[in-house]
């Protein structure tokens, strides 16, 4: 059983989607319950990863390998390290809340919505488990199909535009990655195993081409400036659940791709172009923060803040090169990389929570414009504290998970170059500004709008959903140790590899 734990995690939701679909339009209640059951079972199975995984070594564990296409050297090979385990649990956790969140909200073909969500979950877990580049690519692309459908059917008024943009943008990035992978396959002499690709020697020119091929694929996914423009559209038009999954998990796949592919396969090119990523990350942190400040639409505001926060992830990953190879400070590099990983998990909880909150408001008011709200705390006293908590976490308040990752990255950046740290630290001001200003305009003040006056407070289902997010945000804010411990050895291994040149 434990030998096939990873396969179980991938295929349980995929197979579970079939009865959900069969339950059909006639029995939406049944479809909802089956999908909840599947999601909970997957979550339970993912928790079994914690005891099964030995966090002290940081190696790839729980290996499964089957020959898939022997003549091309493609294997169905799965394994996880600490980072994957953390991301898988984040995925399964978020998925339950997404299904709970959609319970009564999705009335149009709920069975198709739930089934698409489960298929998406399976593909996302597959991405985090795959150790074969082609298998990774298959999951990476397969993920797009259900998300395309989710945004397109259940999204807002401009959903078709947004979902086409989302799909084509992502496909655009990844197809060049595919050509890069084929080139690597050629160089390794017929292997798609990521470890073989990392072991093969490549000149700086080859590495640079590959680096940019991967950059295109993953930067669009993260998303980094200037290829971020699909994200605000996708977020605004997606249904709440779509936004939650997109922000909480799918964006992380970009960051995960960097540490799985770009760093080990093209370390010298990564070092060579590290300045580029650092500059783009700082632009994301500062400039996109300012853009978030002027947004009128709550979802758009959170979408832009996601881009800014993901800037910390790419910053934390790539300052490691400055620290390891130039200032020879591997401990700080480890801290920065660790911070990036914590930031990924923490942003998963916070952004998921923020989008869920906006979803709660949107379900009642059918508007996301900040100006339509005001004084919500007077009519929704239970909802308001949650909203404030998540907003505080979003602006990086100590004691919430949002603080931990950003602080670690800023500390590491300071060792690398105080100027980088200075610009990165801007986020503490801008982040607080845009989030708290939104809180002020939405929650505080007098009720001026008659629709706001009629708002009903959150029901039990919504309280459950928001409490679960809040628990995650507070737990990892006050006690990040288990999360750090889970990923520490794996991060250390990645940082060790950075020092080894491949030319």
């Amino acid at each position: 059983m434990s030998n096939h734990l990873l396969s179980l995690l991938i295929w349980l939701p995929v197979v579970g989607a079939i009865p959900v679909l069969l339950a059909g339009t006639g029995r939406p209640g049944l479809a909802r319950w089956i999908s909840l059951l599947v999601a909970v079972a997957t979550f339970a199975a993912s928790l079994a990863l914690i005891p099964a995984y030995d966090a002290t070594t940081g190696t790839m564990q729980l290996n499964e390998s089957l020959s898939w296409i022997p003549s091309l050297g493609i294997n169905y090979s799965l394994a996880v390290d600490g980072i994957s385990v953390a991301l898988i649990i984040l995925t399964t956790f978020t998925q339950i809340l997404v299904i709970v969140g959609a319970w009564e909200v999705i009335q149009n073909k709920p069975h198709q919505y739930m089934a698409a969500m489960l298929l998406l979950e399976g593909a996302m877990i597959g991405v985090f488990c795959a150790t074969d580049a082609m298998l990774f690519y298959v999951f990476f692309e397969a993920m797009l199909i259900p998300m395309f459908i989710i945004i397109g059917i259940w999204g807002g008024p401009r959903r078709v535009y947004a979902t086409l943009k989302f799909f084509i943008y992502t496909f655009f990035g990844s197809i060049f990655m595919l050509v890069g992978l084929l080139y690597l396959w050629h160089k390794t002499g017929g292997s798609f195993a990521i470890s073989d690709m990392a072991a093969v020697h490549l000149t700086l020119t080859e590495q640079s081409w590959l680096f940019f091929a991967f950059l295109l694929g993953f930067a669009i996914k993260v998303p980094m400036v200037p290829v971020h423009t699909w994200l605000p559209d996708a977020h605004v038009e997606a249904p709440t659940g779509g936004s939650v999954v997109l922000a909480a998990v799918m964006l992380k796949i970009g960051g995960y791709g960097f540490i799985r592919f770009s760093l080990p396969i093209a370390p010298d090119a990564s070092q060579h172009y590290e300045w580029l990523i650092v500059v783009l990350s700082l632009i994301a942190v500062c400039y996109i923060g300012y853009i978030a400040l002027v947004q009128q639409d709550m979802k758009k505001l959170v979408a832009y803040s996601s881009i800014a926060h993901m800037g910390f992830v790419t910053l934390g990953i790539f300052i490691a090169f400055i620290l390891v190879r130039e200032t020879n400070n591997p401990d700080a590099a480890r801290l920065g990389m660790q911070g990036a990983m914590v930031q990924m998990i923490s942003h998963g909880f916070i952004s998921g929570a923020m989008f869920s909150c906006i979803g709660v408001l949107y379900d009642r008011m059918h508007t996301r414009q900040i100006k339509d709200y005001g004084g919500v705390i007077n009519v929704m006293p239970i909802f308001a504290p949650f909203y404030v908590l998540f907003a505080m976490a979003n602006s990086g308040l100590p004691g919430t998970s949002g603080f931990v990752g950003e602080f670690m990255v800023i500390l590491a950046a300071f060792s690398a170059n105080p100027w980088i740290a200075l610009f990165a630290a801007f986020t503490l001001i801008i982040g607080a500004a845009y989030t708290l200003w939104m809180v002020k305009r939405v929650l505080w003040g007098k009720v001026t709008n008659s629709h706001v006056a009629e708002l009903k407070d959150v029901n039990g289902r919504e309280i459950f959903m928001l409490s679960a997010f809040a628990a995650g945000v507070l737990l990892f804010g006050i006690w990040p140790e288990p999360l750090v411990h889970l990923m520490d050895a794996s991060v250390a291994r990645i940082v060790e590899q950075l020092a080894i040149t491949k030319v």
Binding site: W68, I69, S71, E141, I145, L164, F171, L178, Y183, H186
Partner: protein
């Protein structure tokens, strides 16, 4: 005198010719009420034919009639899939022909003869057999396109097809005559041997250019693609599906025989004219990818859209072919098989959703299909994503293999062109999905699957196979690789 051995090698073809003649006679003597029997008998004939191909397959390549006819792994794969796909097409065609009162018996006999043409073409060992197979195939196809003779669109398509097809045949024949002049042989292997060290290189190159024109026409590769959109749109859909799927396998076989067997390939020391035709095919590939995809973007008619998409798919097929080695050929053949299966499902869907008096031909006709018929919308979604090459669907792996073949041949630029073309192509396939899933059904239309149960079942299996083969494509790839290994 043909020996008994020759006859045994040709057994599947001989059997199919005899069976087609018997069916033709039978159709003439059957009462109108009993014509349905022809349908089931034809399918049976094809399935038995596929069985004969597989069961009589020799362990290694053999030839009959003094090298005129080759029976090897390549011909086996192509014949089996042509026969099976044609059988599938017969199932799709039945409700279509019945409702439109299109002559029943003629359709089956002509398609069977065309299939015999495909079988000769992919087994050809000499220029004469290539031409013979090609003419049998195309002459039957001209008649098939014109089958719905009351439709002016259908007649127009047939005339266009005939005139351009005859021109292409002429070009091919002219090229063949030059090759014959330079090498004094019609036998492809002899030509191959004669090319090395010949002093008639210029004449051979001219011959090659004309032959590639003929191949390009048959494949529908740009710039020889002009006939494709009109013929696809104008033909009865039951015929379009045959031209758009099984015939692509024939075109691949013809290109392989003429170029690799005949004009020399890149594998081994003696390269023959491989560098020359590789370059020409690379140009055709790039043009097809660009023209097919760009023009498809603006189509509103589904059949026309699929026609332009065919052109771009033939571009991919050629990308694999350019490699010029066993890996490249097997990638191309895999691509041809995957495309034939996918395209059969795409046109099959049009048939299943159409009914008498309503052709489900416009993209807008599919509006809101997910509301009316979620199952068929889902199947069409699979077909579209397979055509677009999105994993985990079958179509992706064909693209993967041809791009890999290009990278291996050191043509990274060609792989990048293929990648960019895939992005452009994605848009129009997504548009079809968008119409089915995101749009509300149009007022006053009622698009449902009205075809008879066998057609619906076979279509479901056909489309689901694209998903299943996306996970289990290893045996098929191994089969294709084995065909070129010897």
């Amino acid at each position: 005198m043909p020996s008994i051995n020759d006859i045994l090698i040709l057994l599947p073809e001989i059997y199919l010719v005899v069976a087609a003649c018997v069916l033709l006679l039978l159709d003439a003597y059957l009462k109108p009420g009993q014509k349905g029997a022809v349908h089931w008998l034809s399918i049976l004939v094809l399935l038995v034919g596929a069985y004969l191909v597989v069961s009589g397959q020799p362990a290694s390549s053999v030839s009959a009639f003094g090298g005129m006819f080759i029976r090897d792994g390549v011909s086996e794969v192509l014949k089996v899939f042509s026969l099976l796909i044609t059988a599938m097409i017969f199932v799709y065609a039945r409700p279509y022909l019945k409702e439109r009162a299109i002559p029943f018996g003629e359709f089956y006999t002509l398609t069977l003869f065309a299939t015999v043409g495909i079988m000769f073409l992919v087994s050809a060992g000499s220029l004469v057999t290539v031409y013979l197979g090609l003419e049998l195939l195309t002459l039957s196809s001209y008649a098939l396109v014109a089958l719905n003779r009351d439709s002016s669109l259908s007649s127009e398509a047939a005339i266009k097809y005939f005139v351009l097809g005859a021109l292409a045949s002429g070009m091919l024949l002219y090229g063949m005559s030059m090759v014959y002049g330079a090498t004094h042989s019609l036998d492809l292997h002899t030509i191959h041997a004669a090319i090395v060290g010949t002093e008639w290189k210029t004449l051979l190159l001219f011959g090659l250019v004309f032959m590639i024109t003929g191949i390009g026409f048959k494949l529908g590769a740009a710039p020889f693609h002009m006939w494709i959109p009109d013929v696809y749109q104008g033909s009865p859909t039951a015929v379009t599906v045959f031209i758009g799927s099984a015939q692509k396998l024939a075109a691949f076989g013809m290109a392989y025989r003429l170029l690799s067997t005949g004009m020399g390939d890149a594998a081994g020391g003696a390269t023959g004219l491989a560098p020359q035709w590789q370059l020409m095919l690379a140009v055709l590939a790039v043009l097809s990818l660009a023209i097919g995809n760009l023009v498809a973007l603006v189509q509103t008619n589904l059949k026309r859209l699929l026609a332009y998409s065919t052109i771009s798919h033939m571009g991919y097929l050629l990308v694999g072919f350019v490699n010029g080695g066993p890996d490249g050929y097997s990638a191309s053949m895999f691509y041809a098989v995957s495309y034939a299966l996918t395209s059969a499902a795409a046109f099959g869907m049009i048939i299943v959703l159409s009914r008498s008096g309503f052709e489900c031909e416009e993209i807008d006709d599919l509006k809101g299909l997910n509301q009316r018929s979620p199952w068929f919308a889902f199947l069409m979604l699979l077909v579209m994503f397979s055509l677009a090459g999105v994993p985990p669907l079958f179509g992706f792996y064909g693209k993967l293999l041809v791009l890999k073949a290009a990278v291996e041949a050191g043509m990274l630029w060609l792989a990048l062109v293929g990648a960019v073309a895939a992005i452009i192509g994605l848009y129009y396939y997504l548009r079809v999905v968008k119409v089915m899933y995101f749009d509300a059904p149009a007022e006053g239309t009622d698009v449902r699957a009205t075809a008879d149960a066998p057609a619906r079942w076979v279509l479901s299996i056909n489309a689901l196979a694209l998903l299943v083969l996306g996970f289990t494509w290893s045996p098929l790839l191994a089969w294709c690789q084995k065909a070129f290994a010897g």
